[in-house]
Symmetry: C2
């Protein structure tokens, strides 16, 4: 974000602005994680963030805008964690599959962020940050590498997101079910959707996953 704004190191004023912005976002994340909404007053948010009340509108035009930023930030952190974790993997089909397998497991490992992904705010799957652009880039790379075939990448992306979210909901309503099994079966289905041959698809969804923990976040 910073490097996109400027090639120069951020000035002291810029650093302070970024800190205030992140304090507001952090407070919103905690409130949202605790309550499931942001139906509190702006004063309660600025108090939780320990910033002046009047400051709020220098950063966000509304609570909805702050909530979108808070959710986007949490999703982006998770997507960046996935990307870093799988940076040594060469096969884009494997990056795609392992990212989905790790994301589905969030239902048990990080239920709060899983809830955000499944929520109506999952319209954020269409947003220019978080999971959608990562999934799109992996799909495009897998097509270029001759690993995936699809006629329409927008529809393929929608189907991928739809399968993942529906299977996360299935895990949620069946707390005793294995999220690993449900997620891996879902990814197997999605790989078939991309025209991958069965033996190869099965190999990919049974590869060992990196054991690293997902990032802690308020949500």
């Amino acid at each position: 974000m910073i490097s996109a704004m400027s090639q120069q190191p951020p000035s002291r004023g810029q650093r302070r602005k970024l800190r205030t912005r992140m304090a507001l976002i952090g407070a919103a994340q905690e409130i949202f994680a605790e309550r499931g909404d942001l139906e509190v007053s702006i004063q309660q948010i600025t108090e939780a963030a320990d910033v002046g009340f009047g400051t709020f509108y220098n950063y966000f035009s509304s609570k909805a805008e702050l909530l979108d930023a808070a959710i986007g930030e949490a999703l982006e952190a998770h997507a960046a964690w996935l990307e870093n974790l799988l940076s040594d993997v060469d096969d884009p089909a494997e990056v795609f599959a392992s990212s989905m397998r790790l994301t589905g497991r969030l239902v048990r490992t990080r239920p709060r962020i899983a809830r955000v992904l499944m929520s109506g705010r999952g319209a954020l799957l269409a947003a220019p940050y978080g999971h959608a652009p990562h999934a799109r880039r992996d799909i495009e790379a897998a097509i270029a590498a001759g690993r995936f075939v699809t006629e329409d990448i927008e529809v393929a992306l929608a189907c991928t997101a739809g399968c993942l979210i529906a299977s996360m909901q299935l895990c949620t309503v069946a707390p005793e079910a294995s999220a690993e099994d449900i997620t891996d079966q879902t990814v197997l289905n999605v790989l078939r959707m991309f025209g991958m041959e069965d033996t190869e698809a099965r190999r990919i969804v049974t590869l060992p996953l990196p054991a690293d923990e997902p990032p802690s976040a308020a949500i």
Copy 2:
């Protein structure tokens, strides 16, 4: 519903009860279609249904229960229409595919019921009426006929619903896009997910669809 309750023709009292119940459901459907919620007083609902205020709790324990019934009734009517329309088709894979193709098109032909299908109340996909049991039965028949392969029917059903709803959302955010193209591409993806060979899957998603109009309903 009546035949499930009793093998005898309904008595006059039973018919009257059913009429009152349907009047309440019809009123709820109209209010929900107009407003997107049922956040009105029970008195407003009973007035719209032209039944006595005190009657409400003889039929429903809460507005939420009435809303579930109203949505369930609308979905069931649509599912019954699909079933009737495709009753002459022998191939269960074709019944499954054509039902999905017609349901995706609801975004343009019946936007209100499409909205219900896409809403949070789409948890109703897990309900024992409407689309889910029809889709499950079609999938089971297609597996028995050797047309579909899947390891886990619950996951397959979740993925089917997830793909359909995500592609309906894609049609909604892109009003200029062809719902026919998006839906048919989605169904092609889902048929591949069920292990169907490409040429055959393409044939099935380009079959002519019955030209009948979907049923009119308040929602």
